[in-house]
Amino acid sequence: MNPQLLWLIPILPFAGFLINGILGRKLPRALVASIALLFTAAPALIVAQLWLYMKSAGAPLSLSVSSVPWIAVSGFHVDFAFTVDHLTLIMLGVVTCVGFLIHLYSVSYMAHEDGYSRFFAYLNLFMFFMLVLVLASSFLLLFIGWEGVGLASYLLIGFYFTKDSAANAGKKAFIVNRIGDFGFLIAMFLLVAHYGTLDFNTIFASISASPLTGGFFTAVALLLVLGATGKSAQIPLYIWLPDAMEGPTPVSALIHAATMVTAGIYMVARCHVLFDHSPVALTVVAIIGAATALLAATIGMVQHDIKRVLAYSTVSQLGYMFLACGIGAYSAGIFHLMTHAFFKGLLFLAAGSVIHALSGEQDMRRMGGLWEKIPITFWTMTAAVFAICGIFPFSGFFSKDEILYQTFISPNPLHLLLWFVGLVTAGLTSFYMFRLWFKTFFGESRFEQHGSSHFPDLHAAHLAAVHASKTSTLTLEADLEPAPAHSVHESPWIMTLPLIILAILSLIGGWVGIPAALGGHNEFEHFLAPVFSAAAEPVVATASHAVELTLAAVSLLTAALGFFVAYLFYYRKPGSAAALAKKFAPIYSLLDHKYWVDEIYGRMIIAPLLMFSRIFLNGFVDGGIVQGTSTGLAVSTRGSGWLVRRIQSGNIRSYAGWLAIGAAAVIAIVLFGHHTLPH
C-alpha cells in the first residue's frame, strides 16, 4: 500500500468543500449532493483499504508520510506529516464511516433548505479538518485540525444565521472553545520550550525515557486537559454543547455527538505517555469525567426538548470516556468513543427523523404514540436506546461495562467512588433515555399541527410548507399506512438507510470487545495494545471472571431499574412524574435550570468581564487613549489649518506683497548677511 495515499484522505473532502463552496450556488442540488457524497465516500474507501493493509500479517504498526518542511526556524521545525497507527485507524474508521452515513442522511433531511450547497461545503470542510486532526503526527498539525473543526462547528451551529439564538449559540461555542484552546496553546509553548519540537514521536520518546513524574508533565497535561474540556464539553466548559443544538440535526449527530466532541478524548489517549507520567493530571481527568457524567445525566432527566436530552446525554457519555482515560484504561475509553459514535449518531439521526415526521416539533411534550406511524425510526431508535443504556448484547453494554470494570478493579481507593458515580450515572442514563423513548413513541399522540409561527426553527417552517403541498406521498412507508389524520410520515429511504446501518452497528459494534469473562477475546483492546503498550504502569490489573460477571450483572440491573422507573412514570402513570416534580419542586427547579450554571457563569464571569470591557476597555482605552489620540490629532490639525489658512486670503495683492517682502529679504541676506551665513 502506497503511504502517499494518506494525503488523499483529508484532501478529498477539502476538494469537495472548494467545489461546493465556490460553485455550489450555481449547481443543481443533485449535483451538489453527489459531489459531497463522492468526496466523503472516497476517503472511507481508502480507509477501508488501509484497514485491511494494517490488519494483514507483517504490516508495520504505524505508517507515516511527511512533506517538505512546513515551518523551519533556527532549530525548530515542523513538517506536514501524517501518521497512522491503530488508534488513528479506529478514529479514521469512525469519522469516515459515520461521516459518510450522515452526509447521506443530510441529502434528504436538508432537501427543502436554502443554503443547500453551503451546508454540504461546511460539512466537507469539517471532514477535512477532522481527518487532519486524527492523522496529524505533531501537536501543531493536530491543533490546526482542532481549530478547524471548531470553525466548522461554529459555521454549522450558526447555519440558520438569521435566527438570533442560532447565531448566539455559534458564538458561545466558539468563545468557550477559545478558553480551552488557550490551555492547549500554552501547553504547546511549554513543550516547544522544553523539547524544541512538537513531533509526537520525539516528545513521547523523551517523556517515556524520563524517570520523573509530575512537575512539568503535570503542568503540560493539565493545560491539555483544559483544551480537552473545551472541545469535549466537560466541566467547566461543557455549557456550549447543549446550545449547539441550534444547528441542523445532522450537524448535531456528526459534530456534536459522534466525532468532533470526541477529539478531546482522542487527544488525551494520543498523549497517554504524558498522562502516565502525571498521576495528578490523570486523577483530575477521572474526577472531571465522573463529575460531568453525573451532572449532565441529572440535567438530562428533566429536559423537554428531544435534542437537548441527547445533548446532555452526549456530555454525560463523554464524561465516561474521560473517566476511562483518567484511570488509565485508554482503550476502554476509545472503545466507548467508537460505540458512542454509532449509537449517539443514530439517536440524533432518529431524533431528526422524528422531528422531520412531526414537521419540526422538538418538544417531547407534544410527541407520543409515534411507534406505529414511523416504524423504521422507532425500531432503529430502540436499538440506539438499548445500546446507550447498556442492555446486553448491544454495543453500549460492552464498552460501558469495560469502563466501569476497569474503574472498579484499579487499586486506587478513589476509583471505587468514581465507579459508584459511574454506576449511578448508568442508572440515570437508562432512566432519561427510556423517558425519551416512552414520551416520544408511546402513550397518546399529543401532536397537533401548529401555525408556522410556533415552529422552533426555519427548517420546521420549510417542512410545514412542503408538507402542506404534498401530504404523505414522500415515501413508500407513508403510502402503505392508512392515511394518518395529520401528516406524520416516515422519512424517505435515503434517511432511513443510514439509520438502519447505524442500528446494526449499534447492535454489533460492541462485539469486537467482548471481554474474556463473557467468552470473548477483547480483540479491541488487543488491537490497540501496540499504541498503549508504552503505558508506564500496567493498569490492567487482573480480577477473577466472577467479579467481572457480577459487575456486569450489577450494571444490567441498574439499567433495568432506570427502565422500570421510566416505565412507571411515563407509561403506566403518566401524571406521576409531574406530581413528583411538584413534591420536590426545589430539586426539580435546580435541574430544570441546569444547576443555574449558565446564570452563575453569566454573573461571575461574563458580567464582570462586560463591566471591565465597558469601563476600562471601552471607556478608558477606547474612549480615552484611542479616541483621545485621534481626536487630539484632528483638533491640532484643524487648529494649525485655521492659523495657516489666513495666509491663503485669496487677495492677489497680499500675495504680491509677500512676494515683495520675500524678495527683499533675499536681497537683504545676499547683501548684508553674506558673511554670517555658512556656505
Binding site: G650, N651, I652, R653, A656, G657, A660
Partner: protein
C-alpha cells in the same frame, strides 16, 4: 561718463515705485501701469550693464522684454475692457467672481 550706480539707483527707485503702486492701488489700469514700470526698471538695468560691458546681449534682452510687454498690454487691455463691460468697475477687490 555717468557711473553705473546712478542707473541702478534710478532703476531701483522705479522698481520700488512700481511695487508700491502694485500693492496699494486698486484700479486695474494703475496696477497694469505699475507692472510696466517694473518691467522698464529692469530694462534700464539691462541697458546700463550692456553699455558698461560693451556687450549687446542685454540690449537684445530688452527687445524681448518690450515685445512681451507689448503683447501683454494688448491682451491685458482687452481683458480690462471686457471686465469693465461686464462689471462696470475696475476695482480689483470687487472682481471676485471666482472666490467662494
Amino acid at each position: 561718463m555717468v557711473p553705473i550706480a546712478y542707473y541702478l539707483i534710478l532703476a531701483a527707485i522705479l522698481f520700488s515705485i512700481g511695487i508700491a503702486a502694485f500693492l496699494i492701488k486698486r484700479n486695474v489700469i494703475t496696477i497694469f501701469m505699475s507692472i510696466e514700470l517694473m518691467l522698464n526698471a529692469v530694462n534700464l538695468t539691462f541697458v546700463a550693464f550692456s553699455h558698461m560691458w560693451h556687450q549687446v546681449n542685454g540690449q537684445i534682452f530688452v527687445f524681448f522684454v518690450m515685445v512681451v510687454a507689448a503683447a501683454e498690454a494688448a491682451v491685458g487691455l482687452a481683458i480690462i475692457i471686457a471686465l469693465f463691460r461686464m462689471r462696470q468697475t475696475l476695482d480689483v477687490d470687487q472682481i471676485n467672481l471666482l472666490k467662494n
